[in-house]
């Protein structure tokens, strides 16, 4: 178990990191960035795998199974649409 205050510090530092990392994003990238951050919280897949992994009753298995499907959809769908959007960005000077 990660101790209470250590968890709190992780929370605070991660929050500042998230805030700082995108603070200078140009408007042009807002939609891809929203989509990209949407992909990153697809990491919830790992959590659903562990939750389903120690599910003991059929009800827990059912909830876990649905959760894994949803999480996989979040991760894969988020990646595919972000990648498709970013693929299109190029300058008039040619090249990517």
């Amino acid at each position: 178990m990660i101790e209470g205050f250590v968890a709190l510090y992780i929370f605070m530092l991660a929050a500042f990191t998230g805030y700082e990392v995108i603070s200078k994003v140009p408007v042009i990238l807002h939609t891809p960035l929203m989509s990209g951050s949407n992909f990153i919280h697809g990491i919830v897949l790992v959590g659903t795998m562990v939750a389903l992994g120690h599910a003991a009753t059929p009800l827990e298995q059912l909830i876990g199974f649905v959760a894994v499907i949803l999480a996989a959809g979040n991760a894969v769908g988020g990646y595919v649409v972000t990648e498709r959007m970013l693929e299109m960005f190029k300058t008039s000077r040619g090249g990517k």
Binding site: A14, S37, V80
Partner: protein
């Protein structure tokens, strides 16, 4: 801590670094593509090592995991590949909602398994909060998806709606409180009712919100899902979830604020006040008349201009006119006309929605300008072409304190020498407000579907040789 767990933790640590680096790279156009690739590598790494997690047990559970990933991932891959660029906003809402639902699912399993012997009040409380946020993000995103996909009528309003919503929210929180203070002895019916009400609240909260505010709402739910995932990381003692979730929660909150600010709307107003209508909705006086123009004349006007600024809006997305607009732009550039695109922060249904569509058509991003960069240039432009945009160029936002959009920064298209408005019909904009720009002396209306109008303009300019 066993050797396997050490390897898993190292992999999670690397994944967390890759997510943050990826997000950082995604905030610049030159490195954005690399950013999503790095984040993708992190995701695959974290997922693969989790199969070795010591808490995973039972062949059936392993089978269900593989099957679930195959089904969810396969469907999402297929839908994400085939969705049109114009439908991106609702797909992001959909995938985001799925993440929220997954976080709520983790919470449900944790609460079902909670053991009165070992459960800690703090962890139970975090699990409840994460479940509440995840459920709201799930059902709210689904409503946003249904609305943007056209599966659901625009808004649902009934008397005392906010009080009913508040009531549902309070009851949900009280139920959550009783779960958190149960000491791990969780009652099934209470748990069920808690989730049903949390889901209902997400639906009810999103129903009255109009389409114009959807970008802010989707962004907010994106941040909420991130936060819910972060909380689940604390519950599961999983630092990868904690860091990725909280980083996204914070980044999403900032993005939501930027968008709300660009619309000059307070977040609380987006969520709790209906747009337009009601007070101040009295029909305003509009002086002047709508003056139509035919495509050949408009084409000549543009072809002999020195500088043309194009203002795209949601109408361009609906008409799928971005490819024709780029063709038109190229023709004009060949004739030595300086062409620039002016993008309002909330044009379309998402921030940057227009940029994505223009990028899809092949428009280079260095002739696309933000509101701040280009607003002083309208004075020197010969022609401003407004295609499918309305409220974002309505000068009433500067002049009429009674207007619902008063104070919203707008593109000063009215300052151009000539304004051509390409528009399907004579109706008012999304907010239902008359646009005084359309009645101005220097404005001409080119009626028709955006794509058709652009084709006609192209033909007209080509005739000039």
């Amino acid at each position: 801590m066993g050797a396997v767990m050490t390897v898993i933790n190292i992999a999670y640590f690397i994944a967390a670094i890759l997510f943050i680096v990826g997000l950082k790279q995604m905030s610049s156009p030159t490195t954005a593509r690399r950013g999503i690739l790095w984040a993708g590598v992190g995701m695959v790494l974290a997922t693969v090592v989790t199969f070795a997690h010591p808490e995973l047990e039972g062949a059936v559970n392993y089978l269900l995991i593989v099957l679930g990933i195959a089904i969810g991932g396969g469907l999402a891959w297929w839908s994400g590949r085939k969705v049109a660029m114009t439908d991106m906003p609702q797909m992001i809402a959909l995938y985001n909602g799925m993440g929220g639902g997954a976080a709520a699912g983790i919470g449900a399993i944790y609460l079902l398994q909670a053991d009165p012997e070992t459960a800690s009040d703090v962890v139970l409380a975090i699990a409840v909060v994460g479940s509440l946020i995840g459920s709201v993000a799930f059902s709210g995103s689904m409503v946003a998806f249904a609305k943007l996909q056209g599966l659901m009528d625009k808004t649902v309003n009934f008397p005392a709606q906010q009080w009913v919503n508040l009531g549902v929210f309070v009851v949900t929180v009280l139920l959550g409180l009783s779960l958190a203070l149960s000491g791990g002895d969780v009652s099934g019916p209470v748990l069920l009712l808690f989730f049903v009400l949390a889901l209902a609240f997400g639906i009810m909260m999103t129903l009255p919100i109009g389409g114009a505010d959807m970008p802010v709402v989707i962004s907010l739910y994106n941040a909420l899902t991130g936060l819910a995932v972060g909380f689940k990381g604390f519950v599961l003692d999983n630092p990868a979830l904690m860091i990725a979730g909280v980083v996204v929660g914070a980044a999403g909150t900032l993005l939501t604020q930027l968008m709300a600010k660009a619309m000059n709307r307070k977040l609380s107003n987006v969520l709790f006040k209906q747009f337009g209508g009601g007070a101040g909705g009295a029909a305003e006086e509009v002086t002047g008349s709508l003056k139509p123009i035919e495509a050949p004349d408009a084409g000549i006007m543009m072809a002999f201009a020195n500088k043309v600024i194009i203002v795209p809006g949601y109408g361009m997305a609906v008409a799928q006119a971005q490819h024709k607009i780029w063709e038109l732009t190229q023709l004009l550039i060949q004739r030595d006309v300086a062409v620039k695109f002016a993008i309002h922060p909330v044009a379309g249904r998402m921030p940057g929605h227009m940029n994505v569509l223009l990028a899809e058509a092949g428009v280079p991003y260095d002739i696309i300008y933000d509101l701040d960069e280009i607003n002083n240039e309208f004075k020197t432009a010969d022609v401003a072409v407004v295609i499918g945009a309305n409220d974002v160029v309505n000068p009433i936002a500067r002049t009429d304190p009674d207007s619902p959009i008063y104070g919203m920064p707008i593109l000063n298209a009215d300052e151009a020498h000539n304004v051509i408005v390409i528009k399907r019909g004579r109706g008012a904009g999304f907010s239902g407000i008359e646009n005084h720009l359309f009645y101005a002396d220097n404005t001409r209306m080119l009626y028709g579907d955006g794509q058709k109008a652009a084709s006609e303009l192209i033909a007209a300019i080509k005739e000039l040789g």
